[in-house]
Symmetry: C2
Subunit: 330 residues, 2 copies
Amino acid sequence: MANIQDVAALAGVSVATVSRVLNNSTSVVPGTRDRVLSAIRELNYNPNLTARNLRRAQTKMVLVLLPTVANPFYSRIVKGMEDIAHKNGYNVMLCNTNSDPAREKVYLELLKNRLADGAVLMSSDFETEYLMELGSIWPIVQCCEYNENTTLSRISINNEQAAYKAVEHLTKLGHKRIGMISAKNNFISTALREKGYKRALSDAGIALDPGFIMYGDYGYKSGLRLTTQLLSLENPPSALFAISDMMAIGGIKAAIQKGFSIPDDFAAVGFDNISFSSMYSPALTTISQPKYDMGCVAMELLLKGISGEETMQKTIVLEHELIIRESTVN
Amino acid sequence: MANIQDVAALAGVSVATVSRVLNNSTSVVPGTRDRVLSAIRELNYNPNLTARNLRRAQTKMVLVLLPTVANPFYSRIVKGMEDIAHKNGYNVMLCNTNSDPAREKVYLELLKNRLADGAVLMSSDFETEYLMELGSIWPIVQCCEYNENTTLSRISINNEQAAYKAVEHLTKLGHKRIGMISAKNNFISTALREKGYKRALSDAGIALDPGFIMYGDYGYKSGLRLTTQLLSLENPPSALFAISDMMAIGGIKAAIQKGFSIPDDFAAVGFDNISFSSMYSPALTTISQPKYDMGCVAMELLLKGISGEETMQKTIVLEHELIIRESTVN
DNA sequence: TTGTATGCGTTATCAC
DNA sequence: GTGATAACGCATACAA
């Protein structure tokens, strides 16, 4: 594995000149330039980016922390992030945190070890202080979820309004008994979706039944279990609002298992519009977030922060959309 | 951001000593050791891993190339890889190639730039020569898919046997007209699954109908479209074997749309046992691969290659399992 | 336009 | 047990 010195020797120039053609910084006379280029080819030379990064005090690497790639909700977002990153010569290091604070910290601390130039956080249980301290040194962008006490940049949709729209869709269909399955976590989106649910009920003149709100995690099993419980109530709901598609699908499965017909006996609305939602039988009514765009915008913001082009912290809210499918309407 | 010199100065020792306590290499007297440690704390010092990596000619980073994280099949595998990598102080860089040869190459060439110490390939359209050349310099392990002309290590299941088992399950249920939806690609697994399908039919004394094998990609839409075509045949199949769960689910959706009852009118078997398979309605019969273990084994092999502990190329075949669910049996 | 020389932050070899 | 110091491979300020 040849290095820059070998190339310089073979081309009969100094390493500085080789470096110049490598980065086409200052102008190099065509003649020498060609000699260098052919030496590079002949030696099959590739620059050592570790050395370059050390010298330049950068890594051209960004961290993306997310709970898990297993949730298809994240895959489109990640795609957007990657596209923007690559376009700008950056690589992204995907970090599955499993929502484990210890793991999250391990990853984020890679910044301190100068192994990445910045980070996008898609879930974080970090202390406000810790986050602000790191954010004062390295660019950090929050995507989808955020700690509202920090002043770090954030990208999200209006979760309260989206949830309102989802539940309003159900009330307009005539449903009076609407259950909600939510999650026990610190995500701001969870709280806001619950708020939207309550406001929609209130606006429709429906009294809130606290027994109709159940808590699990984001997953299918959780949705299955909670909905089974809801449907076992003496006076069960006729419709369901779930904070994730996975939970909504679990809810539908529970209803099917109980012999309910969808959407006549039981209707369900999810959240996220993951790809499975349209594949499911019945296809799922859900809230769609502009996943790819969110990823793009988050990464653009991060890269601007890294380049110093944009240091102001921003709050960006993107549009969402209610997608009506078979799980609520025939 | 303090460096090792700052720490040395504050502790009143040389950088060499600081380095020693950092790597607890040679023994350092407890007294100086404590002074160094408290200097590190006081300065909030973190070693610059780029510099360390340059010096040590390593990166503690491995590449994992896969078509897309959007396919849940890969998430468990990746989890296994990550667990093993982290346990050994390595980070993994997940690379979504979208099966695009250009992108694949860009990623793999990161090895040449000394940005990673080795790579796991989970899909590759690389030329045999190219792969062998890189493999002669850096440890490379092939997982699930492989180029059979290379001598690189590989981990997989017996795809032919697994497909055989899946189709045999259908013939034993009495099905005589069994369609297959496959993909147009160069994956070794695809060819082997087709081979297993044919052998199972043959062993059951069923003549192969070439019109019963259709080709698409791995996805849901493809499965939906191809199965719709199969079911439009004058004499349509009563059962389906798909090379992926996503395709099988598309197939089931197609049958449902045509008013078929599953599994009475139409049965389907998939491949991969992605999490969504058990959530689907009807739940999908499928072949389960030991995803997590495959990931672990692949990464273990890679790390042994990197450490030089194991340089022999290996071929490892893991066990699979037929999982029977509602899509074939009531 | 090109070359020389220095430094990025470490680790490791050699002295003491 | 500890300290100088030379590398690692590159980019760049300064000279020429």
